[in-house]
């Protein structure tokens, strides 16, 4: 059992605040992805959980034990690094066995675990080689095997796939998901790649400027962004935002269209919709087509709506010309509203 609780953790480097009062609870065996652009504090948070960095304030609990004062070796964690960190002076076998030998396990047990994890990661034929004789993908496998061999309560991964080429990344992603689910460990996985995050995570914690903006299931994060940032960061192309002005109580004017919305004592709101959640029709947002990109299954149309960019994913059969005036009808249940001042969802 290894539930991870991060309570009010903050980290300051000199005058720079990398993390502001982060709270996050990760339940046992959960796969949590920390997602954010570079510099958002996700790696710092991971390193604080690992014990490689000390929080300026706050507490870290793993499996009901407070660990923030403990060195990494006493936390029951294993970590996979972005650049693999495979020891170059040891064979693959000794790399995987390294942590087991530190635990002073009997030789028989060491061999059993090394062989089992090597098999799991499909590197059993490489055990006698040195790191210099391996490809990037193979090194990554060794790094994961080394972490799994420890049979830790918690595995921490810092962008483990970002140094691999695209095809290999896809292959490793699927494999990692299977292996980690079978190993029944709690996982924290840091990435800036939203596709990776969506496909791996039980829950995604979206981070921005040292704060967790939203921590929820991938579909929830995609469908119901808690803040404007989440909508604009996740999704390719991202969510569209259009300013809305009050028409009457509970009804708002958006790009020539009047829509029912929240009843609020405000004059301005922001209307948001995913590109795939609009249909070209007779009624809708007034849009002028700027660019048309046929992508095969559908067509990406970039339009001008109220002087701002608006992207719509439309059926590839639709005959649209650059310069056309379109009416884009948003699906009513997919419309989201944001407060322009706090940028939070309503």
């Amino acid at each position: 059992m290894a539930e991870i609780a991060i309570k009010g953790v903050a980290k300051r480097f000199g005058g720079f605040t990398a993390l502001h009062q982060v709270d996050l609870t990760i339940s046992d065996q959960e796969f949590m992805v920390l997602l954010g652009a570079s510099g958002c504090g996700k790696t710092t948070l991971l390193r604080i959980v690992a014990g490689l960095e000390r929080p300026s304030q706050g507490e870290v609990w793993i499996g009901g034990r407070r660990v923030d004062h403990l060195p990494p070796r006493e936390r029951g964690i294993a970590m996979v690094f972005q650049n693999y960190a495979v020891f170059p002076h040891l064979t693959v076998f000794e790399n995987i066995a390294f942590g087991l030998r530190m635990k002073k396990l009997p030789q028989q047990e060491v061999e059993r675990r090394v062989n089992r994890t090597a098999e799991l990661m499909h590197i059993e034929q490489l055990l006698k080689r040195y790191s210099g004789q391996l490809s990037g993908g193979q090194r990554q496998r060794v790094a994961v095997a080394r972490a799994l061999a420890m049979e830790p309560d918690v595995i921490l991964m810092d962008e483990p796939l970002s140094n691999l080429d695209a095809l290999l990344r896809l292959e490793m992603r699927a494999e990692l998901k299977g292996v980690l689910a079978a190993s029944k460990t709690t996982t924290i996985y840091v990435t800036h790649d939203q596709v990776e995050a969506m496909s791996l995570a039980d829950r995604i914690a979206v981070m921005h400027q040292g704060r967790i903006v939203q921590a929820a299931s991938p579909v929830e994060v995609y469908r119901n962004p808690a803040a404007r940032f989440v909508g604009s960061f996740i999704g390719n192309p991202p969510m569209n935002f259009i300013p809305a002005t009050k028409a009457a109580n509970g009804s708002w004017t958006v790009a020539g269209l009047t829509l029912p919305g929240p009843s609020l004592d405000k004059q301005k709101l922001e209307f948001a919709i995913r590109p795939e959640d609009v249909d070209a029709g007779a009624e809708g947002l007034h849009a002028t087509v700027r660019v048309i990109e046929p992508l095969g299954p559908h067509t990406l149309v970039t339009c001008d709506v109220e002087g701002g960019l608006f992207r719509a994913i439309l059926d590839s059969n639709a005959s649209i010309q650059v310069g056309d005036d379109l009416r884009l009808a948003p699906k009513p249940d997919r419309i989201r509203w944001f407060d322009p001042e706090t940028t939070n969802a309503l």
């Binding site: 490689l52 060195p71 530190m102």
Partner: protein, 281 residues
């Protein structure tokens, strides 16, 4: 622009060829500059006394070991040689003992004054030894360190330390910090991670840096001549006694000094190049 474009291809090729020749000529000149004295030294050391003073010179030495064996058996040489080895070994131990931890600290930790510390390490080389020799001699006599191997080794350590610090600094910087962190997460204490991961990777370089410190002490003559009287090192001894010796003995003594130093430097050249940021093979 157009002038450049219209330059005949042949002229460009000529210019490039001339540049190549210039490069080769410079390389040869520099090679001769370094190698010729060494060549003459060795040829003369390996020739009989008559051949040293004779003219014309022979291109190949006669491999007459007479002068060398005479030199080795010369009174005091064995003792001076022993002193040199002793001082150089002490210097090596002190320089690495202090230099390697400093290099590690510089590469792994951020501390206030780090930049000035690095600069000061280099600055120690800016003071000419003759300037320091007299006050040092006075101080050594007062503390009783004069004419001892450890006293001279201390002076040589100050000469060797900047190199030891900078070589080990670049050495440790070349080892990714993630390797150490990975070792920590795999159950190592700081010291275990250093011993099991960093040290094996740094050891060849540390050995090279040690050999370099040894060579610096081996070659040093000024402090050795000023600070020792009875317990002279080989360099100081040769400076003192070979001044009036016949030419062939000077050559033999010179070779005895230069050849070991050359061999040491040759053995560790890769790491010295690495320190100076030249890609090594």
């Amino acid at each position: 622009m157009s002038a450049v474009a219209e330059t005949p291809v042949a002229a460009v090729a000529d210019a490039r060829k001339a540049g190549d020749w210039l490069l080769i000529a410079t390389a040869i000149l520099l090679g001769v500059w370094v190698l010729l004295p060494i060549y003459l030294l060795i040829v003369n050391a390996l020739s009989s006394p008559d051949q040293v003073t004779a003219f014309p010179k022979r291109f190949f030495p006669s491999f007459d070991l007479g002068s060398l064996s005479f030199f080795i058996n010369f009174a005091g040489v064995a003792r001076a040689l022993w002193n040199s080895v002793l001082v150089a070994t002490l210097t090596m131990i002190l320089a690495i003992g202090f230099g390697a931890p400093a290099g590690y600290a510089l590469s792994r930790f951020d501390f206030p004054g780090k930049g000035s510390f690095r600069f000061l390490v280099l600055m120690t080389r800016a003071f000419p030894l003759p300037l320091l020799a007299l006050p040092l001699a006075v101080m050594f006599i007062r503390t009783g360190l004069d004419d001892t191997a450890i006293g001279l080794a201390l002076v040589h350590t100050t000469l060797a330390l900047p190199f030891a610090v900078l070589i080990t600094f670049s050495l440790f910087s070349g080892i990714p910090v993630e390797l150490e962190e990975a070792a920590w997460t795999l159950g190592c204490t700081r010291w275990q991670a250093f011993r099991k991961v960093i040290l094996p990777l740094a050891l060849p370089g540390i050995a090279a840096s040690a050999v370099f410190a040894f060579t610096i002490s081996w070659n040093e003559v000024f402090a050795a001549a000023v600070l020792t009287i009875e317990n002279r090192t080989l360099t100081a001894f040769l400076l003192q006694s070979l001044g009036e010796s016949p030419l062939y003995l000077k050559f033999a003594g010179g070779a005895a000094l230069v050849v070991p130093a050359l061999i040491f430097i040759f053995a560790v050249r890769k790491y010295l190049f690495a320190m100076w940021g030249i890609a090594n093979r």
